[in-house]
Structures are given as C-alpha cells and as structure tokens.
C-alpha cells in the first residue's frame, strides 16, 4: 500500500465517516425511541417511561453534539479532500446535500425547543408533539445524505459528452436505482442499533443488581422495538442484495466470492480464500445466492470474472458481508428469545446469559453498521462515481494530507474518550431511583 495523496485522502475520509456514522446512527434512531417512551408514559401516566424519555434525551444531546461537529467535518472535508469530485458531482447532486441542511436546521430548532420545555406546557401531549419534527428532521437528513451515496453507486440524471455535463435532472439523480434499498436499510438499521444500544444500557444496569421496575420496563421496551427493527433491517438487507444483483453485480459477486457466471449459484458463508483464489472452509448453501438475488433458485448470477480486471472491487469485502449478516441474525434472535422468555413464564427473561447477550447486542449492532458501510463503499471501488470517475481522479492534489490525517485521528480520539467519560459520569452521578424520587415524588 503506497501512502500517496489518494490513499491518504481515502484514509481520512474513512476515519471521519466511520467516526461520524456512530453518532449519526444514534442521532437518527434515538429520537424515535425517546418519542415512543414519552408517548407510552403520557398515555399510561407512568412516570417510569417519562423518566426514561428524559434520561435518554440527556445522553442523546451529548451524542448529537458530537454528530453535529463530526458531520460539519465530513461536510467540509468532502470539498477539501475531493475537490475535483465535488466540482463534477456538485453540479448534479447538490440538491439533496442542500436539502439535508434544511433537515438539520429543522431538527436543530425543535431539538432545542424539546430540551427546554419539559414542564412548560399544560398538556404533556404538546411536549410530545415536539418530538415529531425532531424525528422527521433527523430521518430526513439520513434520507437525503443516503441519496447522495446512492448516486455515487448508480449515477444517473445527466449526460457526459466530451467531458461536459449536460441534460441534468436533479430529481432523477436523487431518485436513482440505489436510493430505495439504501434508504430503507440505512434507516431501519439506525433504528435497530439505537434500540439495542439503549437495551444494552438497561440490561447492564440489571446485571449490576439494580432490579427496579424502571430498568425492566426499559429493557422490555427496547427489546420489543429491537425485534421489530431487526426484522425490518433483515428484510431491507435482502432488498439491498436484490438491488445489487440487478444494478451493481460486481459488488455482490466480490462480496460473495462468486467468480464464474452461473445458474443456480451457491451462497458462501465464511471461509477463506487461498492464494489460487480457491475458497476453503466455507459453508455452501446450494442455489441460495440465486434465490437471494432474484427470488429464483435457478436464476443466473453474474460472476466477477465478467468484469475488466481493473474494475473489480477487492474480494476481502466478503468478510464484511459475513460479519454484517451474522450480526443481523443475532439481532433478530436475541430480542426474540427475550420476548419468548418474557411471555412464557417457565423461563427467566433476566437470566445472566441472556442479559449479557443483550449487552453484547449494542456494540455488535454498531459494528454491523461500520462493516456494512465498508462493504458498501469498498465494494464500489475503484469508482468514486461508478462508471464515470475513479477514486484516483477525485482526490486533492494538495500537500500535507498525511499531517491532517494525524491531526484528525488525534481529534477523534480525544472526542471519543471525553464523550464516553461525560456520558458515564452523567448517569453514575444521578441514578434513576434518585431522580424518580425528586421528579415524581415516587
């Protein structure tokens, strides 16, 4: 690996995005959970849920702050690191980028109001109503930014003639073939990860021996939501795979180590690739790849060898895909077990191993988000705009990218560490029981 400008620009972009996406995911998903908790609290007049909403909100503000600043970083870095790319792509796809800022604006305004008006309305429902624009704002910003990423995968809505871009249609560019599947999967996975992270906190408290109703209700709420979202995420993932088979077959082929075009293709899980490109130790599910791609066990799936050698994505993304799918299954199974155990009184839904599995679900779902993005982005290689512009043509020509890379690494380390300390401190110093007492006289 040569550390030229292109490589360094990629590394810096990757670092910022990988860091941003953690907070962005929480920013998209947690407002949904807060809103649900507050609504239940109001309807059932249950202070436990109201407190849940309040405490989640308090932690949420801190993560939003990091999301906002890292988002500002990536927004500017796209121009700083990929000036040629932005110059071309900006002419076609700046509409959703622009709309995204409106969505942020909208969200920021109502989040500010939501935070500081808990007790200002006579009817609590009015305060709950304020959470709706926050959800709309954050989910809309995820929608808009994802359309930009979708555009990079399946660009359309313009014509390129002798280096001149003509016949631009911003709406068509925004609603390109990758948009539906990507948006669906990104949104559902953000909701899922948020539910599981909150579930992790509840389970961890129970493990620490805090067995109050408050924690049990929190766990149940997050597990119900987690189960629903996990199911939807898997469905959306399946839709994404079908999209790939049709529109970006080289990504699917690289992810699946599917080299020769064939009918009734097998699905490979795990395994390693030896130096002769032979797959070893993999689990082979006969005809499943055809089924996954086209809902037909005998459909023809394009292999990687169909593509020119210099346009094939690296095959190591297979591991990314495996990790994501494995975690996808895990996130369906664990909440499902909890719900079954909770229903059937024969089992204990708060047994140690189950609680630990739930705790594990939090970090795992974030890992799934990260590897999912790596799969999607590296699977687009060597293109930055698939079919039009390669990554190497988009990077900055400025000096010192390496230095900036180190600068930002240091920044993210500081941010990550301080943010974690602040969050832990915030809740340690103020246990839920104490807060319940002074707020609701319980």
């Amino acid at each position: 690996m040569e550390l030229d400008n292109v490589m360094l620009a990629r590394l810096l972009t990757t670092t910022t995005l990988a860091f941003h996406i953690i907070f962005a995911t929480i920013g998209v998903g947690v407002p949904v959970m807060i809103s649900i908790a507050e609504y239940i609290g109001i309807k059932r007049k249950d202070p436990h849920y109201l407190l849940l909403a309040r405490r989640w909100t308090r932690g949420f503000v801190v993560t939003v702050a990091v999301g906002v600043v890292t988002g500002t970083c990536i927004g500017l870095q796209l121009s700083l690191l990929w000036p040629s790319f932005m110059k071309i792509a900006g002419q076609i796809i700046s509409l959703p980028l622009f709309l995204e800022t409106f969505a942020f604006f909208f969200e920021a305004i109502f989040l500010g109001i939501y935070l500081y008006t808990w007790d200002r309305f006579k009817k609590p429902l009015y305060h709950w109503l304020l959470s709706i624009p926050v959800i709309i704002g954050s989910s809309a910003s995820a929608f808009f930014i994802t359309t930009v990423n979708a555009f990079m995968n399946t660009p359309q809505g313009f014509q390129l003639e002798n280096g001149v871009i003509t016949a631009i249609d911003p709406i068509q560019a925004m609603f390109n073939p990758a948009t539906p599947s990507k948006v669906l999967h990104v949104l559902t996975s953000a909701y899922l990860a948020s539910a599981l992270i909150l579930g992790m906190i509840a389970a961890f408290q129970l493990l620490l021996g805090r067995t109050g109703e408050y924690y049990k209700k929190s766990l149940k709420l997050t597990m119900v939501c987690g189960f629903v979202f996990a199911f939807l995420t898997a469905v959306a993932g399946d839709i994404s795979a079908k999209f790939l088979a049709k529109h970006q077959p080289e990504k699917l082929a690289a992810g699946e180590w599917h080299f020769e075009t064939e009918k009734g293709a097998d699905l490979l899980l795990y395994g390693i690739l030896d130096e002769n490109n032979e797959v070893k130790y993999a689990i082979r599910l006969p005809n499943m790849l055809s089924f996954l791609s086209f809902s037909d066990f005998n459909a023809e799936v394009k292999g990687l060898n169909e593509f020119p050698e210099d346009e094939r994505p690296p095959v190591w993304i297979h591991y990314m895909f495996d990790i994501m799918v494995t975690i996808g299954i895990y996130t369906v199974v664990v909440p499902f077990l909890y719900l079954i155990f909770d229903k059937l009184k024969a089992f204990n839904p708060h047994s140690k191993w189950l609680l630990w599995s739930i705790v594990l679900g939090g970090p795992l779902s974030l890992i799934a988000i990260e590897v999912g993005w790596i799969f999607a982005e590296v699977g687009r290689q060597p293109w930055i705009l698939r079919g039009y512009m390669k990554v190497a043509e988009g990077a900055t020509t400025a000096d010192n990218v390496g230095l900036m890379f180190l600068l930002f690494i240091a920044l993210y380390i500081v941010l990550g560490v301080v943010c974690s300390i602040v969050l832990v401190k915030m809740f340690k110093n103020k246990p839920a029981e104490v807060e319940l007492e002074y707020r609701f006289n319980k």
Binding site: R58, V61, V62, V64, A65, V68, V69, G71, T72, C73, G75, L76, Q77, S79, L80, W82, P83, S84, M86, K87, I88, G90, Q91, I92, S94, L95, L97, F98, L99, E100, T101, F102, F104, F105, F106, A108, I109, F110, G112, I113, Y116, R120, P133, I168, P170, I171, T396, T397, A398, V401, M404, L407, L411, L415, V418, C419, V422, L423, K425, M426
Partner: protein
Amino acid sequence: MEIQLVGITVLWLFLYGYLIVASIDFGAGFFAYYGKLTKQDHLINHLISRYLSPVWEVTNVFFVFFFVGLVGFFPDTAYYYGTALLIPGSVALVLLTIRGSFYAFSNYGSRENKLYLFLYGASGLLIPASLSTVLTISEGGFIEKRGDEIVFLADRLLTSPYSWSVVFLAIVSVLFISASFLTYYADRADDKPALEIVRKFALFWSSPTIIASLLVFIALHEHNVAHFEKMLNYWWMFGFSLICFLVASGLIYFRKRYGTAFIFVMLQFFFAFFGYGVSHLPYILDPYVTIYSAYTNETMGITLVVAFIAGLCLLIPSLILLMKLFLFDADYVKGKK
C-alpha cells in the same frame, strides 16, 4: 435579477446570519471565561448559558448551510478553495469541533470544569480569526494557479497587514456584537448586576470596531486597489453603517432601549457586510472564480432556488417559535421557567 446574483445574495444573507448568531456565541464564550478569571462568573454565566443552551446547534447549521449552498451553487469554489485551504480549513474544523463538543460536554455533562471553559473561551476568538482569513484570501494574491496546480501562499498571508487587520476586525466585532446582545438580554431578564457588567463590555468594545474598520479600509487600499475603489462607489452603505453604530452606542451609553440598540448593531454590520460583499462582486476568488464562471448549470440553479424558498417556508415559522420561547418570553429569560 440574474440567478447567479440571487444565489450569492441568499448565501451572503446566511453568512450574515451566521456572523450575528455565531458572534453572540463566540463572544459569550470569551466573556464566560473572562468572568471566571475575574470572579464575576456568578453574575453573568447563568445568563449566558440560559440563552445559549437552546440555540447553539442552530448556530452551527447556519455555517453548514452556507458552505453546502456555496458548493451547490458554485461548484468551482470547492475546487479552488478546497485544494488551497486544506490546512487552514482543517485547523478551523478542529477548532469548531472542539468548541461545539466541549460546549455540550460542559453544559450537559460535568459543569464547572476549568479546562472546558478555557477551550470554550479561547476557541471563541480563534475561530472568527481563522474563518475571517477566508475573506482575506478571496481578495486574491494568496492563491495562485501555476499550470494545473493550485498553490496557497501561506507565508504571504501571514505577513500581510491586510490579513491581520481583518483578523483584528473580526475579533473586536465578535466581542462588540456579543456584548451588545447580552446587554439586551440582561435587561430583559431584569438582571441588574449582570447588566452592569455586560454593558461595560459593550461600551468598551464599541470604538475598536470602528478603528478596526478604518484599518481594514486602509490596508485594502494597499492590497487590492480595484476593490477599494469599488467600495467607494458604495460609500453610502458604509455611511449608514457608521450612523447605525453611533445610534447603537449612544443608546447603550445613555441606558436607553437596549433592544433597539441591538437592532442598530445588527444594521451596522448588515450595511458594512453587504457593502463589502456587493463591491467584491463578481469575484468569489479574485481573479480566478466569479459568480458567473463558477455557476452550476441552469437546471440546478433554479432547482436550488426553488428548494430554498420551500425550505424557508418551513424554517421561518420554526425559528419564530424558537425565538418566541427563548428570546421574547420574559418569564423564560428571567429564569422562571
């Protein structure tokens, strides 16, 4: 009006909006730190955090809006500035990042941490200084195209009197805008002790803004005569700016109508900022990028304008709601809610 002009006007308006709200925020950070050092923090800091807490995120969005809009309307700017400003841009980003996140950490997390407050105060002055150099660079002479390469002449920037006069102006303006706003806010909150302190800040920082503006004029004459002469064509805008300044400082000095005084401060900067902007046209980066050469295509331009109008219909009512709840609600300002 040509669509390019519409575009740049809209963006300039947002930059102006950022100038005002961010100045309040940046200056407040400095005053909070200064208050801590001089042990007056118990008098003013609660006032500052009461206003800032609900709106800090909105401030940041103004900025994001500006640069995303600029790249959308004028993609060439991304190419020139992006290539040239990798280092200064990254440094400004790191500062903004530290500021935003540490504000949230100290405000929502652990309060009263001296280091947080220091970072918050120092970045409040460094950020306007570094952002204002982008305006300096736009005057030309600091970015050169050599063949296919775009070179940023950092040493020339660091030794240019013009550049330093702009930095000076940025810092004193931030402090003046912020102090005059806090004066108004303290008055609304009926907080006499705080009012006394922030009013003194406002008076103290008022005349330096005018001195700094004069310095910038003189230095610009040396640096870019063409722009200086175009500015003279708009002398009346700068005249208005001066009048507004006099009215504002007079009102604060005579302890009258602090709200009106702040509006005049906003007008003072409005006229100066737009006088500067309009005389800068058509250049975005002298002499390489103009609003005509950098303009995106017609379709995207019109689409963005339409999107912008639609967006405003959504934003303005929400902003009014925000201001009603936190700025004009006397009970909230007084701390009763």
